[in-house]
Symmetry: C2
Subunit: 433 residues, 2 copies
């Protein structure tokens, strides 16, 4: 039986998952594709720390990438170290040495995807990165291949586990944003500085990768407008729930007639919608195409073994290409062309407002005028609570362009009765047919 | 630009969808894979009926398969006629003439999948059939390729549109089974004789295909135990709803230590579970692997364009193989080995019973004894209604092997107080971690 030698760059959460997956399922992979996988090298900063690990017996541990690149028996390098440097340099060097690469590195792929792909193609080797979006969920390859006959109209993803854990916890247990964040940090789901996740940057990177593939264009992180979940309060979560919604951080790419719009924002999702059942550590990507209508891909968005499943899917696919002598073909993220952007200011949504106002007569007429002046129809107004001389109002609008919402927010802020525009959140519709 | 000639066998719902998809998105496909698709022939029984159709201008309409097989310019034959004969003969003839085949034919693939695949491989051409399960949903290729590193533990599918439409309608509108079936027939979702769908046979065929791929074995329709939805009443749907469940027809393949068990049955699905949001014409397949944990694939399970999306995904993939000179590789459903079966009698589930009994004292103790005698723990007993001198009881059991349930059903039927064991339905748990 043919043997495929792989080298692991990094041995953290995903790297150890890959080693565990190979040990656990080697017989299944042999049966399935007729070759055996051997981990020949693992690159770690301090090899001595890993020597006694059961999983790594018989494997060459090294802190030198040169050791790996010099070994001509290596068929596939698996980059699971994360970050930009030195992962980027290692990947380019591997490709230029005609070694296939599988990577789980979203930061790198979101910034340099097309450049890496072209280097791989020039060298007739594969570069694949299924694990960079949605953990174990098969999404990049199905989006690129299975849906290839479609013009993709929109991609809506729940692709950040940290924010989904926080929001699910706020919804299920009634805790505050701050408490939910602290629980996430304690469990290791959120970092000490949680900005990258809670401000939506991580989701924006994944959206850039999804949009590049779905729209056959070169989309980067900088093209995505980002709003985070920091302002979502327990009141917002509770009012959403009372109306039959749950709040999720969505990464949304929409094709309009004159370009595409890319946004990350929290939104009310109707409980009847499949995205509403995506809780805790799960991710999902909801794709609409002009032929297929809508499809959703759902699963564990992170974690050692689920992410290793996606990495090994790529490794097995690469092994098949090696066996068929067809490496360097059928790759994704090869487009370098840019695509026009549609102004997100023109995108229409229904919106939820939570306002803290003076509890005096005539307040509602002031507020209603502000909405009317900005051409916004109000669908519902409810007074939710009253504390001393202040009242909390919830307002739901009809579908309105983003720019009118920004204008009314400013107008509301300067009303004499207004104490605080506490939150403004988009409301998603369930428009499944 | 390279041209790929395709011939369509059949021009019904799916065939016209394929023609429409090619017309609508030819530019997108050209951009994406760098080749142009031309429909050169369409095989129909009465060509004269189609001559004026806008979609078919410039295409050779024929009622003779020999016309098609004789044309050496055809690269791919798309079989969308359905049924076993003459589709089977045409497909084998095409493959033996070294022509690639894409098929949407679940009946054929469920019976002859491995035989067809081996004929394709011997002739170094592709056979693919993504559209045979789940309409437009990318499932067979992702299950085979993206999840290749996993030992698949279970596959739970909502894969029959007719029954899902009927059950969703009963749940949403409170109509009876009979009325929901008549609506489905009026809308064209159910046939005049609905047995194939409502008795679960269609779902069983799709389960056989899914299990063959997921478990790397040759599983056929005959291996699946089938229960239909004919006995589901509005009362059952309503009681399920009151407890936070919705009833779905599930196709379930489970790996146990000593083999696999394959069943189609209606079940209570918790509303919190992603499968519960799969309504009407949607399908979903929920897959658990020992590495990836659980993933779900969701989308339109039928319909002209959604199914055409899956067909064209296969056509595009085959075109890439043609361009790379790698047809005949990487195919699914190639296993001919059989796999041991685990007795479905031993599978454990929680169960719902609806019983119509005499409304007299002492009834509950008779019934409780019957359950106790069969080692079944009762979780909940509720008297739901009382009509004249009869009472309707709902009983939910703890997890119990199927064989004990069959025994208690017989014991209940002969109790003096028992008027009718109105229904017995499995209750699914939401065991997501």
């Amino acid at each position: 039986m043919k043997n495929i030698n792989v080298a692991l760059l990094g041995f953290g959460t995903v790297g150890s998952g890959v080693a565990e997956a190979i040990r656990k399922n080697s017989r299944i992979m042999e049966d399935s594709i007729g070759c055996h996988f051997t981990i020949s090298h693992v690159l770690v900063r301090h090899p001595e720390k890993y020597r006694d690990m059961d999983l790594l017996q018989g494997i060459h541990l090294t802190s030198s990438f040169d050791d790996i690149i010099a070994d001509s028996s290596i068929d596939i390098i698996i980059e699971v170290m994360g970050g930009i440097h030195p992962a980027k340099e290692y990947i380019f060097e591997a490709l230029n040495h005609h070694i296939n690469v599988v990577s789980a590195n979203k930061d790198l792929v979101a910034l340099f995807g097309p450049e890496i792909m072209h280097t791989a193609m020039e060298n007739h080797v594969n570069f694949s990165c299924e694990a960079s979006v949605g953990g174990g969920i098969p999404i990049l390859r199905p989006l690129h291949d299975s849906l290839a006959a479609n013009e993709i109209e929109s991609i809506v993803g729940i692709v950040n586990g940290t924010t989904n854990f926080i929001l699910s916890n706020m919804d299920d247990s009634g805790v505050s944003y701050g408490d939910a964040l602290r629980v996430a940090q304690k469990k290791g789901y959120a970092e000490a500085d949680p900005t990258n996740d809670v401000a939506g940057y991580d989701a924006a990177r994944k959206l850039a990768i999804l949009a590049s593939i779905g729209f056959h264009a070169n989309v980067t992180f900088d093209d995505v407008l980002v709003e985070g979940i920091e302002k979502i309060s327990q009141n917002d979560v509770q009012y959403a729930s009372e109306m039959g919604y749950t709040i999720k951080l969505l990464a949304v790419a929409i094709r309009q007639e004159n370009g595409i719009a890319l946004n990350v924002y929290p939104a009310f999702v109707p409980r009847s919608h499949p995205l509403a059942s995506v809780k805790g550590s799960y991710n999902a990507i909801y794709v609409t195409g002009n032929i297929v209508d809508d499809v959703m891909f759902y699963g564990k968005g992170a974690g050692s073994l689920p992410t290793a499943s996606a990495v090994m899917g790529d490794v097995i696919s690469t092994a098949k290409h090696i066996l068929n002598h067809s490496t360097g073909t059928g790759m994704m993220l090869t487009e370098t062309k840019r695509i026009p952007f549609y102004s997100s200011l023109k995108l229409e949504n229904s919106y939820y407002f939570r306002l803290i106002v003076d509890d005096v007569t005539g307040v509602l007429s002031q507020i209603a005028s502000a909405y009317a002046d900005n051409d916004i129809s109000i669908k519902e107004v409810v007074q939710k609570s009253r504390i001393e001389d202040a009242a909390e109002l919830m307002i739901i609008t009809e579908k309105t362009p983003r720019e009118n919402i920004i204008h009314v927010e400013k107008a509301l802020q300067v009303l004499p009765c207004m104490r605080q525009v506490a939150n403004v959140v988009r409301v998603m519709e369930d428009d499944r047919k």
